[in-house]
């Protein structure tokens, strides 16, 4: 083949390949190896209204642009609990709020976390990536520079919300019943009685919204009712019909390793999780949410406030489940130490955030506090394994009846 013909063939291949190479992979928005750029276009009046009414859940229309992909007719609203404010808006992006079925990166909604309450700015992303490393379901996360109408709003964490896209990616099917737990009052999985509206208040369904409540909520009610049975065979038989006990133990153990203080054994009761029941099953599993209260305290016990969660407390009274709990924490500790994975992940993400933009002066903490807190997180990543391995060893020596729970 002549050189000329070869060059022509190569050019033809390149021309044909160009559209493929240039096509944006929407999944890259969750690529945490680089800082993403997200642009929102909103009407100026709506933006003023959003800032003035940051404490409301009103949706505003917007266009969402990532690279060369523009998603029109999306809904944007203020979000958050303690992090909600009008200075650096926490935002929820609903791709299907105005156009039924509209998706981006296979998800119907993402959260732009304003990193308001975490001076390190990386706890959430480090924790979620560690949960995924441990083989459990976790939201995909990355960091992004966010612009509204061309104005830079700061660096945000891009968080995938548990929804049908998340379920399909993780479980292959999205037809089950998904509930988001809402903190309304201190709650510990005690029985809620016969009224379904009590369950609807705490557990907002995020799928099957248009169906009648009874068939959607009754298995969840049965799970919580089963937890009232006396610890022992009766409890075990009843609860296993409605709860994937090993998954719940693994979920709690990973949280315990990460030192979560506002989660399954939170300081104000259980918090920050979703519950999912696959289609055709009555057994529920737990999905993590909002992990910016992890890695605060190096020496927090792996049994801290276990008695604030009656489900976990009852489960750990069973020797095999207690053993699984300790085994999972041990596995977490070893995994975190392996190639210094946790430390490296925290360092890498902190460097990524710092490289994204000059430090955001709208945040309620200064650069010095941020740097100091990054050091705390890295210290946690370096030394947490050692602490929990000692506690696991001690717990294994203790009899099942005496082991627990302060």
């Amino acid at each position: 083949m002549s050189l000329k013909r070869s060059l022509l063939a190569l050019m033809a291949v390149l021309v044909l390949m160009t559209p493929v190479l240039a096509q944006t992979n929407e999944q890259d928005v969750f690529d945490s190896t680089q800082v993403q750029d997200i642009y929102l276009q909103m009407n100026a009046r709506d933006l003023i209204d959003l800032r003035e009414h940051w404490d409301s859940n009103t949706f505003y229309p917007a266009d969402f642009t990532y690279r060369d992909v523009r998603v029109r007719n999306i809904g944007v609203r203020s979000r958050g609990w303690g992090s909600r404010n009008g200075i650096k808006l926490g935002l929820r992006i609903d791709f299907n709020h105005y156009v039924s079925g509209q998706r981006f990166a296979d998800t119907a909604a993402i959260v732009l976390d304003n990193l308001w309450q975490d001076p390190s700015m990386v706890r959430e992303a480090v924790a979620m990536s560690f949960i995924a490393r441990m083989g459990e379901a976790a939201s995909r996360e990355s960091f992004a520079r966010v612009f509204i109408n061309g104005d830079f709003q700061g660096v945000y964490a891009v968080v995938e919300e548990p929804n049908t896209g998340y379920l399909k990616r993780r479980f292959g099917k999205d037809t089950g019943a998904l509930f988001e737990y809402h903190w309304v009052r201190t709650y510990d999985f005690s029985a809620l009685g016969d009224r379904l509206d009590e369950y609807e208040l705490l557990f907002e369904r995020r799928t099957h919204e248009s169906e009648s409540a009874a068939p959607v909520y009754e298995p969840l009610q049965a799970m919580i009712d089963a937890n009232s049975y006396p610890i022992g065979t009766a409890w075990r038989e009843r609860i296993e019909a409605y709860l994937d006990l090993p998954q719940m133990i693994r979920y709690a153990a990973i949280e315990a390793f990460l030192g979560e203080i506002d989660g399954f054994t939170g300081y104000a009761g259980v918090n920050n999780f979703y519950v999912y029941r696959p289609d055709g099953s009555t057994r529920h599993i737990f999905l993590p949410w909002d992990r910016d209260h992890t890695m605060w305290q190096l020496d927090i016990s792996i049994f801290e406030r276990v008695n604030g969660n009656r489900l976990l407390y009852n489960a750990l009274a069973h020797s095999d489940l207690r053993a699984l709990y300790l085994d999972t924490i041990e596995r977490c500790a070893k995994s975190a130490l392996e190639d210094k994975w946790l430390e490296a992940q925290a360092s890498r993400l902190a460097a990524l955030v710092d490289s994204a933009a000059p430090f955001d002066t709208r945040l309620p903490y200064a650069k010095e506090k941020h740097d100091g807190d990054v050091a705390n997180v890295i210290d946690f990543a370096q030394r947490r394994s050692s602490f929990v391995l000692k506690e696991v060893a001690a717990a294994r020596k203790t009899s099942a009846s005496a082991a627990r729970v302060r």
Partner: protein
């Protein structure tokens, strides 16, 4: 509402009709109207009072809803040969005052009306309830035509009364600010005009009755959520008040009526366009929000009177109509309040019925309304029948 309550109200309605039938007969002329009075030579007063009891199906439910409506009293009359007036008030409701106006003849072909009265748009909307052929006005007239408002209007008839003109300025287009939805916008100072013609008035054949009119209104729209919205005959929402608007609201309408012998045919088309200036995400203009509707209605007055006295009559009625919402624009149809291309929606209805004029003062109307509704944002349409029954009493 319980069946017993509905039954009781129907029985009460019939009893009232029977009572009215027994005590009154139609006067031979307006001068003989027992509810019309003269004060000296200059002042004439005519009392008016009316009420209706409506019973209607409620959407998909088998329940019937009864409602006592149109409880009104009023007086109209004249002072001398140049001044007419009308006052009418609801007995309840948030906005009880209806007509309050005076009408002065300045010249033979020029009159001036001032006060609160109906904006001159839509034949059906400006027809008094006593003369309506159906329990409810058409969807278009009810939801697209402006209502009453405070204003000043000149009007008169010219060229042997073949042409009638009406032109006025009103405070609003009938809708005021909503307390429950302060974000909604409505037509502000409204300029309205209507030109009616009876082009064959001199003809001795039935074509001489033909009435044709064109009407238009224009109003500025403050920035806000347009209050254009669609409801079915049974009151269900099928197009929400969702979209931002700003600029002008313009209405155009055409109407026609022909009454050959015992038949009458009425038709109207009307269209409302709300501009959406500066309402796009980037501050540019969006395609205008449009609502349009039409109807064709026919009535056959059974020539033979019913019962003794010859005052009881029967009419057979039918109406075909449509009310639709949408916009131009590009892109995906969306409920996004700033979408260039809004989701379309429409309601097509057929009404069949009959009216029984028991006496001049009592009327029973029975309608069956079949609707096929394509709601905004829904991929499928729904169809259903709604029965509507009304007993109307009036002086």
């Amino acid at each position: 509402m319980g069946a017993a309550v509905v039954t009781r109200r129907i029985v009460v309605s019939f009893a009232a009709v029977a009572l009215m039938s027994a005590v009154t007969v139609r006067p031979a002329s307006a001068e003989d109207d027992p509810f019309s009075f003269r004060l000296g030579d200059a002042i004439r007063l005519a009392l008016d009072a009316r009420m209706a009891i409506d019973v209607r199906g409620s959407g998909d439910s088998a329940d019937l809803n009864t409602d006592t409506t149109r409880r009104r009293i009023g007086v109209d009359g004249s002072i001398g040969k140049r001044v007419d007036f009308a006052i009418e008030r609801e007995l309840d409701g948030d906005h009880p005052w209806r007509d309050i106006y005076g009408d002065v003849r300045l010249q033979k072909t020029l009159r001036l009306r001032a006060g609160q009265f109906k904006v001159p748009f839509s034949l059906e909307e400006t027809t008094g309830v006593k003369h309506l052929d159906f329990v409810d006005r058409s969807l278009a007239a009810t939801q697209l035509a402006p209502g009453r408002d405070v204003g000043v209007m000149v009007h008169g008839r010219v060229w042997r009364k073949r042409f009638e003109y009406e032109g006025g300025v009103f405070r609003r287009d009938g809708d005021g600010p909503s307390l429950s939805h302060p974000e909604r916008t409505y037509g502000a100072t409204t300029t309205a005009g209507r030109l009616s013609m009876e082009p064959f008035a001199s003809a001795k054949r039935s074509i001489g009755d033909l009435h044709v009119a064109f009407a238009a209104t224009t109003s500025p729209l403050q920035e806000g959520i347009s209050n254009l919205r669609g409801r079915t005959a049974s009151g269900d929402r099928f197009f929400p008040a969702t979209y931002w608007a700003k600029g002008r609201r313009q209405r155009t309408g055409i109407e026609a009526r022909w009454r050959p012998g015992p038949f009458s045919v009425t038709a109207e088309y009307m269209r409302v366009v709300d501009q959406r200036r500066g309402q796009a995400l980037d501050g540019s203009d969006l395609a205008a929000l449009t609502a349009s509707g039409w109807y064709i209605a026919g009535v056959w007055r059974v020539p033979r009177a019913l019962g003794p006295g010859g005052h009881s009559r029967l009419e057979l009625t039918s109406r075909v109509e449509r009310l639709a919402f949408g916009s131009g624009g590009d892109g995906v149809m969306s409920l996004n309040p700033r979408s260039d291309r809004v989701v379309s929606a429409d309601d097509r209805a057929i009404t069949l019925g009959f009216n029984w004029w028991v006496t001049h003062y009592a009327k029973v109307l029975v309608n069956a309304v079949h609707e096929r509704v394509q709601p905004a944002g829904s991929s499928s349409s729904t169809a259903r029948w709604t029965p509507v029954f009304s007993v109307q009493l009036g002086l």
